[in-house]
Protein backbone atom coordinates (compact mmCIF):
# COMPACT_ATOMS: atom_id res chain seq x y z
CA UNK A 1 0.00 0.00 0.00
CA UNK A 2 0.99 3.53 -0.81
CA UNK A 3 2.43 5.46 2.17
CA UNK A 4 0.61 8.65 1.20
CA UNK A 5 -2.74 6.90 1.42
CA UNK A 6 -1.68 5.29 4.67
CA UNK A 7 -0.78 8.65 6.16
CA UNK A 8 -4.00 10.22 4.92
CA UNK A 9 -6.05 7.48 6.49
CA UNK A 10 -4.08 7.74 9.72
CA UNK A 11 -4.68 11.47 9.87
CA UNK A 12 -8.36 10.90 9.28
CA UNK A 13 -8.47 8.17 11.89
CA UNK A 14 -6.69 10.18 14.53
CA UNK A 15 -8.84 13.24 13.90
CA UNK A 16 -12.09 11.31 14.32
CA UNK A 17 -10.54 9.22 17.09
CA UNK A 18 -9.72 12.37 19.07
CA UNK A 19 -13.38 13.38 18.93
CA UNK A 20 -14.52 9.88 19.94
CA UNK A 21 -12.04 10.08 22.80
CA UNK A 22 -13.71 13.21 24.14
CA UNK A 23 -17.11 11.55 23.94
CA UNK A 24 -15.83 8.34 25.50
CA UNK A 25 -14.32 10.29 28.41
CA UNK A 26 -17.63 12.08 28.96
CA UNK A 27 -19.44 8.74 29.02
CA UNK A 28 -17.02 7.28 31.56
CA UNK A 29 -17.32 10.41 33.70
CA UNK A 30 -21.11 10.43 33.68
CA UNK A 31 -21.29 6.72 34.41
CA UNK A 32 -18.82 6.92 37.28
CA UNK A 33 -20.66 9.77 38.97
CA UNK A 34 -24.29 8.90 38.26
CA UNK A 35 -24.30 5.26 36.99
CA UNK A 36 -26.15 6.58 33.93
CA UNK A 37 -25.14 5.20 30.54
CA UNK A 38 -25.60 8.39 28.59
CA UNK A 39 -27.09 7.30 25.28
CA UNK A 40 -28.22 10.92 24.61
CA UNK A 41 -24.56 12.03 24.57
CA UNK A 42 -24.84 11.95 20.76
CA UNK A 43 -27.67 14.48 20.85
CA UNK A 44 -25.36 16.99 22.53
CA UNK A 45 -23.04 16.48 19.55
CA UNK A 46 -25.89 17.10 17.14
CA UNK A 47 -27.07 20.16 19.06
CA UNK A 48 -23.56 21.62 19.24
CA UNK A 49 -22.96 21.03 15.54
CA UNK A 50 -26.30 22.34 14.30
CA UNK A 51 -26.33 25.29 16.68
CA UNK A 52 -22.89 26.33 15.45
CA UNK A 53 -23.79 25.82 11.78
CA UNK A 54 -27.08 27.73 12.16
CA UNK A 55 -25.36 30.61 13.91
CA UNK A 56 -22.75 30.68 11.16
CA UNK A 57 -25.59 31.02 8.65
CA UNK A 58 -26.76 34.06 10.61
CA UNK A 59 -29.95 32.47 11.95
CA UNK A 60 -31.30 31.89 15.45
CA UNK A 61 -30.83 28.19 16.35
CA UNK A 62 -33.81 26.27 17.76
CA UNK A 63 -31.73 25.08 20.69
CA UNK A 64 -32.19 28.45 22.45
CA UNK A 65 -35.92 27.68 22.57
CA UNK A 66 -35.18 24.12 23.64
CA UNK A 67 -33.17 25.52 26.56
CA UNK A 68 -36.07 27.77 27.57
CA UNK A 69 -38.47 24.82 27.36
CA UNK A 70 -36.28 22.38 29.29
CA UNK A 71 -35.47 25.06 31.88
CA UNK A 72 -39.17 25.64 32.49
CA UNK A 73 -39.78 21.92 32.96
CA UNK A 74 -36.77 21.65 35.28
CA UNK A 75 -38.19 24.56 37.30
CA UNK A 76 -41.53 22.78 37.60
CA UNK A 77 -39.71 19.68 38.90
CA UNK A 78 -37.85 21.83 41.46
CA UNK A 79 -41.11 23.39 42.64
CA UNK A 80 -42.72 20.00 43.02
CA UNK A 81 -39.84 18.59 45.07
CA UNK A 82 -39.77 21.71 47.26
CA UNK A 83 -43.41 21.37 48.23
CA UNK A 84 -42.56 19.56 51.48
CA UNK A 85 -39.81 21.75 52.83
CA UNK A 86 -40.05 25.19 51.34
CA UNK A 87 -37.06 27.53 51.62
CA UNK A 88 -36.40 30.79 49.82
CA UNK A 89 -32.74 30.42 48.83
CA UNK A 90 -33.14 27.21 46.78
CA UNK A 91 -36.25 28.67 45.13
CA UNK A 92 -34.40 31.80 44.03
CA UNK A 93 -31.51 29.69 42.81
CA UNK A 94 -33.90 27.60 40.76
CA UNK A 95 -35.59 30.68 39.28
CA UNK A 96 -32.24 32.12 38.23
CA UNK A 97 -30.74 28.93 36.79
CA UNK A 98 -33.81 27.40 35.19
CA UNK A 99 -35.85 30.41 34.08
CA UNK A 100 -33.71 33.55 33.89
CA UNK A 101 -30.55 31.96 32.50
CA UNK A 102 -32.15 30.42 29.38
CA UNK A 103 -34.11 33.62 28.79
CA UNK A 104 -30.92 35.65 29.07
CA UNK A 105 -29.23 33.31 26.60
CA UNK A 106 -32.20 33.70 24.25
CA UNK A 107 -32.03 37.50 24.50
CA UNK A 108 -28.28 37.57 24.05
CA UNK A 109 -28.34 35.26 21.04
CA UNK A 110 -31.18 37.15 19.35
CA UNK A 111 -29.31 40.40 19.92
CA UNK A 112 -26.00 39.37 18.45
CA UNK A 113 -26.93 36.78 15.81
CA UNK A 114 -25.79 37.70 12.31
CA UNK A 115 -24.05 36.31 9.21
CA UNK A 116 -20.85 38.28 9.79
CA UNK A 117 -20.09 37.15 13.33
CA UNK A 118 -16.57 36.02 14.07
CA UNK A 119 -16.13 32.24 14.24
CA UNK A 120 -14.87 32.40 17.82
CA UNK A 121 -17.99 34.28 18.84
CA UNK A 122 -20.27 31.65 17.27
CA UNK A 123 -18.32 28.85 18.94
CA UNK A 124 -18.69 30.54 22.31
CA UNK A 125 -22.40 31.21 21.80
CA UNK A 126 -23.00 27.60 20.76
CA UNK A 127 -21.34 26.35 23.95
CA UNK A 128 -23.33 28.75 26.10
CA UNK A 129 -26.56 27.61 24.45
CA UNK A 130 -25.97 23.85 24.60
CA UNK A 131 -24.21 23.61 28.00
CA UNK A 132 -27.32 24.19 30.19
CA UNK A 133 -29.17 21.41 28.35
CA UNK A 134 -27.00 18.89 30.23
CA UNK A 135 -28.02 19.86 33.78
CA UNK A 136 -31.64 20.34 32.62
CA UNK A 137 -31.68 16.83 31.18
CA UNK A 138 -30.28 15.45 34.43
CA UNK A 139 -32.83 17.36 36.50
CA UNK A 140 -35.78 16.23 34.42
CA UNK A 141 -34.95 12.63 33.59
CA UNK A 142 -32.36 11.24 35.99
CA UNK A 143 -32.48 13.14 39.29
CA UNK A 144 -36.00 11.93 40.18
CA UNK A 145 -34.76 8.33 39.83
CA UNK A 146 -31.16 8.75 40.98
CA UNK A 147 -31.32 5.68 43.24
CA UNK A 148 -32.71 3.36 40.54
CA UNK A 149 -30.73 0.42 39.15
CA UNK A 150 -28.27 0.77 36.28
CA UNK A 151 -30.70 -1.05 34.01
CA UNK A 152 -33.60 1.28 34.85
CA UNK A 153 -31.38 4.29 34.27
CA UNK A 154 -30.34 2.80 30.93
CA UNK A 155 -33.96 2.44 29.88
CA UNK A 156 -34.54 6.07 30.83
CA UNK A 157 -31.50 6.95 28.70
CA UNK A 158 -33.01 5.26 25.67
CA UNK A 159 -36.19 7.24 26.24
CA UNK A 160 -34.30 10.50 26.65
CA UNK A 161 -32.36 9.76 23.47
CA UNK A 162 -35.53 9.35 21.40
CA UNK A 163 -37.14 12.42 22.96
CA UNK A 164 -34.14 14.61 22.17
CA UNK A 165 -33.84 13.09 18.70
CA UNK A 166 -37.43 14.10 18.01
CA UNK A 167 -36.86 17.57 19.42
CA UNK A 168 -33.79 17.88 17.18
CA UNK A 169 -35.97 17.12 14.16
CA UNK A 170 -38.55 19.68 15.32
CA UNK A 171 -36.03 22.45 15.92
CA UNK A 172 -33.59 21.86 13.05
CA UNK A 173 -35.59 19.97 10.40
CA UNK A 174 -34.38 17.02 8.36
CA UNK A 175 -31.84 18.99 6.32
CA UNK A 176 -28.20 18.37 7.07
CA UNK A 177 -25.85 21.25 7.78
CA UNK A 178 -22.15 21.99 7.50
CA UNK A 179 -20.30 24.65 9.44
CA UNK A 180 -17.25 26.72 8.59
CA UNK A 181 -13.85 25.32 9.55
CA UNK A 182 -12.32 26.73 12.71
CA UNK A 183 -9.11 27.48 10.87
CA UNK A 184 -8.27 27.57 7.19
CA UNK A 185 -4.52 27.31 7.73
CA UNK A 186 -2.79 24.09 6.82
CA UNK A 187 0.66 22.65 7.25
CA UNK A 188 2.41 20.00 5.26
CA UNK A 189 4.00 17.11 7.04
CA UNK A 190 6.13 15.10 4.62
CA UNK A 191 3.85 14.12 1.74
CA UNK A 192 0.59 14.87 3.62
CA UNK A 193 -1.04 18.26 4.09
CA UNK A 194 -2.67 18.50 7.49
CA UNK A 195 -5.75 20.68 7.43
CA UNK A 196 -6.28 23.53 9.86
CA UNK A 197 -9.43 21.80 11.05
CA UNK A 198 -7.47 18.66 11.94
CA UNK A 199 -5.01 20.81 13.87
CA UNK A 200 -7.91 22.50 15.63
CA UNK A 201 -9.26 19.09 16.59
CA UNK A 202 -5.93 18.00 18.05
CA UNK A 203 -5.43 21.29 19.87
CA UNK A 204 -8.91 21.52 21.33
CA UNK A 205 -8.99 17.87 22.34
CA UNK A 206 -5.64 18.08 24.07
CA UNK A 207 -6.60 21.34 25.74
CA UNK A 208 -9.90 19.96 26.97
CA UNK A 209 -8.33 16.79 28.34
CA UNK A 210 -5.71 18.84 30.21
CA UNK A 211 -8.45 21.13 31.55
CA UNK A 212 -10.45 18.14 32.79
CA UNK A 213 -7.36 16.67 34.39
CA UNK A 214 -6.69 19.95 36.24
CA UNK A 215 -10.33 20.21 37.26
CA UNK A 216 -10.47 16.69 38.72
CA UNK A 217 -7.00 16.78 40.23
CA UNK A 218 -6.86 20.24 41.76
CA UNK A 219 -10.27 21.76 42.48
CA UNK A 220 -12.60 20.96 45.37
CA UNK A 221 -15.57 20.59 42.99
CA UNK A 222 -13.61 18.22 40.79
CA UNK A 223 -12.62 16.18 43.82
CA UNK A 224 -16.23 16.18 45.02
CA UNK A 225 -17.27 14.66 41.70
CA UNK A 226 -14.64 11.98 42.07
CA UNK A 227 -15.72 11.39 45.65
CA UNK A 228 -19.29 10.78 44.51
CA UNK A 229 -17.96 8.30 41.97
CA UNK A 230 -15.76 6.54 44.55
CA UNK A 231 -18.29 6.35 47.38
CA UNK A 232 -21.75 7.79 46.94
CA UNK A 233 -22.89 7.36 50.55
CA UNK A 234 -19.61 8.70 51.88
CA UNK A 235 -20.01 11.77 49.68
CA UNK A 236 -23.57 12.39 50.82
CA UNK A 237 -22.50 12.09 54.46
CA UNK A 238 -19.85 14.73 53.77
CA UNK A 239 -22.63 17.00 52.52
CA UNK A 240 -21.86 16.66 48.81
CA UNK A 241 -25.20 16.59 47.04
CA UNK A 242 -25.70 13.71 44.62
CA UNK A 243 -27.86 16.06 42.56
CA UNK A 244 -25.09 18.68 42.42
CA UNK A 245 -22.54 16.07 41.31
CA UNK A 246 -25.01 14.75 38.75
CA UNK A 247 -25.75 18.15 37.30
CA UNK A 248 -22.06 19.00 37.19
CA UNK A 249 -21.25 15.72 35.39
CA UNK A 250 -24.02 16.40 32.88
CA UNK A 251 -22.82 19.96 32.40
CA UNK A 252 -19.39 18.62 31.46
CA UNK A 253 -20.97 16.00 29.19
CA UNK A 254 -23.02 18.63 27.36
CA UNK A 255 -20.00 20.90 26.93
CA UNK A 256 -17.85 18.02 25.67
CA UNK A 257 -20.62 16.91 23.32
CA UNK A 258 -21.09 20.42 21.96
CA UNK A 259 -17.34 20.89 21.46
CA UNK A 260 -17.20 17.59 19.57
CA UNK A 261 -20.09 18.67 17.39
CA UNK A 262 -18.46 22.01 16.60
CA UNK A 263 -15.23 20.21 15.73
CA UNK A 264 -16.89 17.67 13.46
CA UNK A 265 -19.48 19.76 11.58
CA UNK A 266 -16.87 21.35 9.28
CA UNK A 267 -15.67 17.82 8.38
CA UNK A 268 -18.97 15.96 7.78
CA UNK A 269 -22.53 17.04 7.17
CA UNK A 270 -24.53 16.63 10.38
CA UNK A 271 -28.21 15.73 10.34
CA UNK A 272 -30.54 15.72 13.34
CA UNK A 273 -29.75 12.03 13.90
CA UNK A 274 -26.03 11.90 13.02
CA UNK A 275 -24.86 12.59 16.57
CA UNK A 276 -26.19 9.26 17.76
CA UNK A 277 -23.83 7.28 15.54
CA UNK A 278 -20.88 9.48 16.52
CA UNK A 279 -21.78 9.07 20.19
CA UNK A 280 -21.97 5.30 19.74
CA UNK A 281 -18.35 5.24 18.61
CA UNK A 282 -17.34 7.06 21.75
CA UNK A 283 -19.42 4.44 23.51
CA UNK A 284 -17.48 1.60 21.87
CA UNK A 285 -14.29 3.21 23.18
CA UNK A 286 -15.78 3.62 26.65
CA UNK A 287 -16.86 -0.03 26.73
CA UNK A 288 -13.37 -1.15 25.70
CA UNK A 289 -12.15 0.94 28.65
CA UNK A 290 -14.60 -0.99 30.83
CA UNK A 291 -16.56 2.22 31.55
CA UNK A 292 -13.96 3.00 34.22
CA UNK A 293 -10.58 3.71 32.67
CA UNK A 294 -9.98 7.16 31.17
CA UNK A 295 -6.61 6.44 29.48
CA UNK A 296 -7.80 3.11 28.08
CA UNK A 297 -10.90 4.84 26.71
CA UNK A 298 -8.84 7.53 24.99
CA UNK A 299 -6.53 4.95 23.40
CA UNK A 300 -9.45 2.79 22.33
CA UNK A 301 -11.07 5.85 20.75
CA UNK A 302 -8.02 6.46 18.57
CA UNK A 303 -8.14 2.78 17.58
CA UNK A 304 -11.84 3.09 16.72
CA UNK A 305 -11.12 6.17 14.59
CA UNK A 306 -8.33 4.42 12.70
CA UNK A 307 -10.27 1.21 12.16
CA UNK A 308 -13.12 3.33 10.84
CA UNK A 309 -10.85 5.27 8.49
CA UNK A 310 -9.23 2.15 7.07
CA UNK A 311 -12.45 0.23 6.70
CA UNK A 312 -14.16 3.12 4.97
CA UNK A 313 -11.33 3.04 2.44
CA UNK A 314 -11.24 -0.70 1.88
CA UNK A 315 -14.83 -1.76 2.60
CA UNK A 316 -16.84 1.38 2.94
CA UNK A 317 -20.20 -0.41 2.90
CA UNK A 318 -19.23 -2.31 6.01
CA UNK A 319 -17.41 0.42 7.93
CA UNK A 320 -19.97 0.78 10.74
CA UNK A 321 -20.29 -2.98 11.06
CA UNK A 322 -16.52 -3.36 11.28
CA UNK A 323 -16.24 -0.64 13.95
CA UNK A 324 -18.95 -2.16 16.11
CA UNK A 325 -17.46 -5.63 15.64
CA UNK A 326 -14.52 -4.33 17.68
CA UNK A 327 -16.79 -4.75 20.67
CA UNK A 328 -17.17 -8.50 20.28
CA UNK A 329 -13.72 -9.65 21.41
CA UNK A 330 -13.85 -7.14 24.27
CA UNK A 331 -17.24 -8.34 25.47
CA UNK A 332 -16.20 -11.97 25.20
CA UNK A 333 -13.00 -11.33 27.15
CA UNK A 334 -14.91 -9.41 29.81
CA UNK A 335 -17.59 -12.04 30.22
CA UNK A 336 -14.89 -14.70 30.57
CA UNK A 337 -12.97 -12.64 33.11
CA UNK A 338 -15.97 -11.54 35.17
CA UNK A 339 -17.56 -13.73 37.84
CA UNK A 340 -20.90 -15.14 36.71
CA UNK A 341 -23.34 -12.49 37.98
CA UNK A 342 -22.39 -9.10 39.30
CA UNK A 343 -25.64 -7.15 39.06
CA UNK A 344 -26.27 -4.29 41.40
CA UNK A 345 -25.37 -4.46 44.92
CA UNK A 346 -24.61 -0.80 45.38
Amino acid sequence: MDTTILLFLLQDGITNGAIYALLGLALVLVFAVTRVILIPQGEFVTFGALTYATLAAGKLPGTVWLAVLMGAIAFAFDLWSMRLSFRLAPLLRSVVLNLLLPLAILALTSAVVGPTNAIAMNVLLSLVIVAPLGPFLYRIVYQPMAEASVLTLLIASVGAHFALLGLGLVFFGAEGLRGPALSSASVTLGPVPISGQALAVYGVTTGLIVALWLFFGYTLYGKALRATAVNRIGARLAGIRTSLSGQLAFLLAAIIGAVSGILIVPITTIYYDTGFLIGLKGFVAAIIGGLVSYPLTALAAILVGCVEAFSSFYASNYKEAIVFTLLLPVLILRSLAAPAVEEEHD
Binding site: L84, S85, L220, K223, A224, R226, A227, V230, N231, I233, G234, A235, R236, L237, A238, G239, I240, R241, T242
Partner: protein, 236 residues
Protein backbone atom coordinates in the same frame (compact mmCIF):
# COMPACT_ATOMS: atom_id res chain seq x y z
CA UNK B 1 -32.30 19.14 81.29
CA UNK B 2 -32.86 22.04 78.89
CA UNK B 3 -34.27 21.63 75.38
CA UNK B 4 -32.61 18.52 73.86
CA UNK B 5 -30.44 18.92 70.77
CA UNK B 6 -31.63 15.75 69.08
CA UNK B 7 -34.99 14.28 69.82
CA UNK B 8 -36.33 11.01 68.41
CA UNK B 9 -39.96 10.30 69.26
CA UNK B 10 -41.58 6.87 68.83
CA UNK B 11 -39.52 6.12 65.74
CA UNK B 12 -39.80 2.92 63.74
CA UNK B 13 -37.63 1.75 60.87
CA UNK B 14 -38.44 -1.17 58.59
CA UNK B 15 -36.68 -3.17 55.88
CA UNK B 16 -39.61 -4.12 53.68
CA UNK B 17 -42.12 -5.69 56.07
CA UNK B 18 -39.62 -6.40 58.81
CA UNK B 19 -39.45 -3.74 61.50
CA UNK B 20 -35.82 -3.55 62.68
CA UNK B 21 -36.48 -0.63 65.05
CA UNK B 22 -39.80 -0.40 66.87
CA UNK B 23 -41.12 2.78 68.39
CA UNK B 24 -38.00 4.00 70.17
CA UNK B 25 -37.65 7.44 71.76
CA UNK B 26 -34.33 9.06 72.54
CA UNK B 27 -32.89 12.46 73.43
CA UNK B 28 -29.39 13.84 73.21
CA UNK B 29 -28.81 17.08 75.12
CA UNK B 30 -26.37 19.90 74.52
CA UNK B 31 -22.82 18.85 75.25
CA UNK B 32 -23.79 15.35 76.27
CA UNK B 33 -22.38 11.93 75.39
CA UNK B 34 -25.17 9.42 74.97
CA UNK B 35 -24.49 5.80 74.16
CA UNK B 36 -26.67 3.06 72.74
CA UNK B 37 -25.41 -0.40 73.64
CA UNK B 38 -26.77 -3.69 72.47
CA UNK B 39 -25.88 -7.01 70.90
CA UNK B 40 -25.16 -7.55 67.22
CA UNK B 41 -28.38 -7.20 65.21
CA UNK B 42 -30.26 -5.20 67.86
CA UNK B 43 -30.97 -2.38 65.40
CA UNK B 44 -28.42 0.23 66.45
CA UNK B 45 -26.99 0.87 62.99
CA UNK B 46 -30.47 0.94 61.51
CA UNK B 47 -31.49 3.66 63.97
CA UNK B 48 -28.43 5.85 63.27
CA UNK B 49 -28.86 5.42 59.52
CA UNK B 50 -32.48 6.48 59.83
CA UNK B 51 -31.54 9.55 61.88
CA UNK B 52 -29.16 10.75 59.14
CA UNK B 53 -31.62 9.83 56.38
CA UNK B 54 -30.09 6.73 54.76
CA UNK B 55 -33.13 4.73 55.88
CA UNK B 56 -36.72 5.97 56.12
CA UNK B 57 -37.93 6.67 59.63
CA UNK B 58 -41.54 6.71 60.77
CA UNK B 59 -42.11 8.90 63.81
CA UNK B 60 -40.78 12.19 65.12
CA UNK B 61 -37.26 13.49 64.52
CA UNK B 62 -36.12 16.98 65.43
CA UNK B 63 -32.65 18.48 65.69
CA UNK B 64 -32.21 21.85 67.39
CA UNK B 65 -35.98 22.48 67.02
CA UNK B 66 -35.84 21.72 63.28
CA UNK B 67 -38.01 18.90 61.87
CA UNK B 68 -35.68 16.57 59.98
CA UNK B 69 -38.16 14.04 58.64
CA UNK B 70 -38.65 15.70 55.24
CA UNK B 71 -34.98 16.55 54.70
CA UNK B 72 -32.50 14.73 52.48
CA UNK B 73 -29.21 13.42 53.94
CA UNK B 74 -27.26 16.45 52.68
CA UNK B 75 -29.72 18.89 54.25
CA UNK B 76 -29.55 17.06 57.57
CA UNK B 77 -25.75 17.27 57.41
CA UNK B 78 -26.07 21.00 56.74
CA UNK B 79 -27.97 21.44 60.03
CA UNK B 80 -24.90 20.20 61.93
CA UNK B 81 -25.65 16.50 62.25
CA UNK B 82 -22.89 14.11 61.20
CA UNK B 83 -22.60 10.33 61.05
CA UNK B 84 -19.42 8.29 61.09
CA UNK B 85 -20.90 5.12 59.62
CA UNK B 86 -20.15 1.55 60.65
CA UNK B 87 -18.25 0.88 57.43
CA UNK B 88 -16.54 4.30 57.46
CA UNK B 89 -17.32 4.94 53.76
CA UNK B 90 -14.03 6.71 53.05
CA UNK B 91 -12.89 7.78 49.58
CA UNK B 92 -10.39 4.95 49.38
CA UNK B 93 -8.74 5.93 46.11
CA UNK B 94 -8.05 9.48 47.33
CA UNK B 95 -5.38 10.82 49.70
CA UNK B 96 -6.05 11.40 53.39
CA UNK B 97 -5.94 15.16 52.98
CA UNK B 98 -8.50 15.17 50.14
CA UNK B 99 -10.82 13.03 52.26
CA UNK B 100 -10.61 15.62 55.01
CA UNK B 101 -11.05 18.62 52.73
CA UNK B 102 -14.13 17.02 51.21
CA UNK B 103 -15.53 16.62 54.72
CA UNK B 104 -15.52 20.43 54.79
CA UNK B 105 -17.10 20.72 51.35
CA UNK B 106 -19.90 23.01 52.59
CA UNK B 107 -17.58 25.13 54.74
CA UNK B 108 -15.82 28.29 53.54
CA UNK B 109 -12.24 27.60 52.43
CA UNK B 110 -10.52 29.79 55.04
CA UNK B 111 -12.52 28.26 57.91
CA UNK B 112 -11.92 24.80 56.49
CA UNK B 113 -8.16 25.33 56.53
CA UNK B 114 -8.31 26.24 60.22
CA UNK B 115 -10.43 23.18 61.01
CA UNK B 116 -7.97 20.99 59.12
CA UNK B 117 -5.20 22.11 61.49
CA UNK B 118 -7.41 21.25 64.50
CA UNK B 119 -8.14 17.80 63.11
CA UNK B 120 -4.41 17.24 62.52
CA UNK B 121 -3.76 18.32 66.11
CA UNK B 122 -6.35 15.80 67.32
CA UNK B 123 -5.00 12.99 65.10
CA UNK B 124 -1.28 13.61 64.44
CA UNK B 125 -1.13 10.25 62.62
CA UNK B 126 -3.32 11.68 59.88
CA UNK B 127 -0.96 14.60 59.40
CA UNK B 128 1.98 12.23 58.94
CA UNK B 129 0.00 10.31 56.37
CA UNK B 130 -1.75 13.16 54.63
CA UNK B 131 -0.58 12.11 51.17
CA UNK B 132 -1.29 8.40 51.60
CA UNK B 133 -4.38 6.91 49.93
CA UNK B 134 -7.20 6.38 52.45
CA UNK B 135 -7.70 2.80 51.32
CA UNK B 136 -4.17 1.85 52.37
CA UNK B 137 -4.48 3.02 56.00
CA UNK B 138 -4.71 0.62 58.92
CA UNK B 139 -8.08 0.05 60.59
CA UNK B 140 -7.39 2.47 63.43
CA UNK B 141 -6.16 5.17 61.06
CA UNK B 142 -9.22 4.72 58.88
CA UNK B 143 -11.42 5.23 61.94
CA UNK B 144 -9.50 8.39 62.81
CA UNK B 145 -9.88 9.60 59.22
CA UNK B 146 -13.61 8.91 59.24
CA UNK B 147 -13.97 10.89 62.47
CA UNK B 148 -11.72 13.63 61.14
CA UNK B 149 -13.71 13.90 57.94
CA UNK B 150 -16.94 14.23 59.94
CA UNK B 151 -15.39 16.91 62.19
CA UNK B 152 -14.40 18.91 59.10
CA UNK B 153 -18.12 19.57 58.59
CA UNK B 154 -18.39 21.41 61.96
CA UNK B 155 -20.99 19.09 63.52
CA UNK B 156 -22.98 20.05 66.58
CA UNK B 157 -23.83 16.38 67.09
CA UNK B 158 -21.51 13.60 65.99
CA UNK B 159 -22.95 10.10 65.68
CA UNK B 160 -20.38 7.30 65.90
CA UNK B 161 -21.33 3.78 64.82
CA UNK B 162 -19.05 1.27 66.58
CA UNK B 163 -15.85 3.30 66.34
CA UNK B 164 -13.89 0.59 68.17
CA UNK B 165 -15.01 -2.23 65.89
CA UNK B 166 -12.07 -4.36 64.79
CA UNK B 167 -9.45 -2.21 66.52
CA UNK B 168 -6.70 -3.34 68.87
CA UNK B 169 -7.62 -2.50 72.51
CA UNK B 170 -4.97 0.19 72.80
CA UNK B 171 -6.18 1.98 69.66
CA UNK B 172 -9.81 1.61 70.76
CA UNK B 173 -8.84 3.30 74.06
CA UNK B 174 -7.34 6.16 72.05
CA UNK B 175 -10.60 6.56 70.18
CA UNK B 176 -12.63 6.69 73.39
CA UNK B 177 -10.22 9.26 74.81
CA UNK B 178 -10.80 11.37 71.69
CA UNK B 179 -14.56 11.08 72.19
CA UNK B 180 -14.22 12.54 75.69
CA UNK B 181 -11.99 15.28 74.30
CA UNK B 182 -14.54 16.19 71.64
CA UNK B 183 -17.17 16.67 74.31
CA UNK B 184 -14.89 19.17 76.05
CA UNK B 185 -14.62 21.09 72.78
CA UNK B 186 -18.42 21.41 72.68
CA UNK B 187 -19.53 18.63 70.33
CA UNK B 188 -22.37 16.38 71.50
CA UNK B 189 -21.94 12.69 70.82
CA UNK B 190 -24.30 9.80 70.12
CA UNK B 191 -22.16 6.69 70.45
CA UNK B 192 -23.25 3.23 69.37
CA UNK B 193 -21.12 0.40 70.76
CA UNK B 194 -20.96 -3.32 71.37
CA UNK B 195 -18.04 -2.62 73.70
CA UNK B 196 -20.42 -1.71 76.52
CA UNK B 197 -17.82 -1.34 79.23
CA UNK B 198 -15.83 1.37 77.46
CA UNK B 199 -18.94 3.11 76.17
CA UNK B 200 -20.55 3.30 79.62
CA UNK B 201 -17.34 4.71 81.07
CA UNK B 202 -17.21 7.62 78.66
CA UNK B 203 -20.96 8.32 78.36
CA UNK B 204 -23.25 10.53 80.46
CA UNK B 205 -26.38 8.56 79.66
CA UNK B 206 -27.11 5.23 78.04
CA UNK B 207 -29.86 3.32 76.26
CA UNK B 208 -29.87 -0.48 76.05
CA UNK B 209 -31.27 -1.90 72.82
CA UNK B 210 -32.60 -5.41 72.29
CA UNK B 211 -34.46 -6.68 69.22
CA UNK B 212 -35.24 -3.20 67.95
CA UNK B 213 -36.46 -1.74 71.25
CA UNK B 214 -34.96 0.11 74.19
CA UNK B 215 -35.32 -2.05 77.27
CA UNK B 216 -33.56 0.30 79.67
CA UNK B 217 -32.17 3.82 79.83
CA UNK B 218 -30.72 6.21 82.35
CA UNK B 219 -27.47 7.76 83.60
CA UNK B 220 -24.53 5.66 82.44
CA UNK B 221 -23.41 4.59 85.92
CA UNK B 222 -26.91 3.45 86.84
CA UNK B 223 -27.26 1.49 83.61
CA UNK B 224 -23.85 -0.08 84.24
CA UNK B 225 -25.01 -1.14 87.72
CA UNK B 226 -28.21 -2.74 86.46
CA UNK B 227 -28.02 -6.51 86.99
CA UNK B 228 -29.35 -7.30 83.47
CA UNK B 229 -26.69 -5.13 81.87
CA UNK B 230 -23.99 -6.53 84.11
CA UNK B 231 -24.96 -10.07 83.16
CA UNK B 232 -25.46 -9.70 79.40
CA UNK B 233 -23.12 -6.88 78.40
CA UNK B 234 -20.40 -6.49 80.98
CA UNK B 235 -19.80 -10.17 81.60
CA UNK B 236 -19.74 -10.04 85.40
Amino acid sequence: MSEPLLSVVRASVAYGNVEAVRSVSLDVGQNEIVTIIGANGAGKTTLLNAIIGIQRLKGGLTFGSRDLTTLEIEDRVATGLCLVPEHRELFGAMPVEDNLRLGGFRIKAAQSAATLEKVFALFPRLKERRRQLAGTLSGGEQQMLAMGRALMGHPRLLMLDEPSLGLAPRIAADIFRTVAELKRSGVSILLVEQNARAALQVADRAYVMELGEFILDGPADEVAADPRVAASYLGV
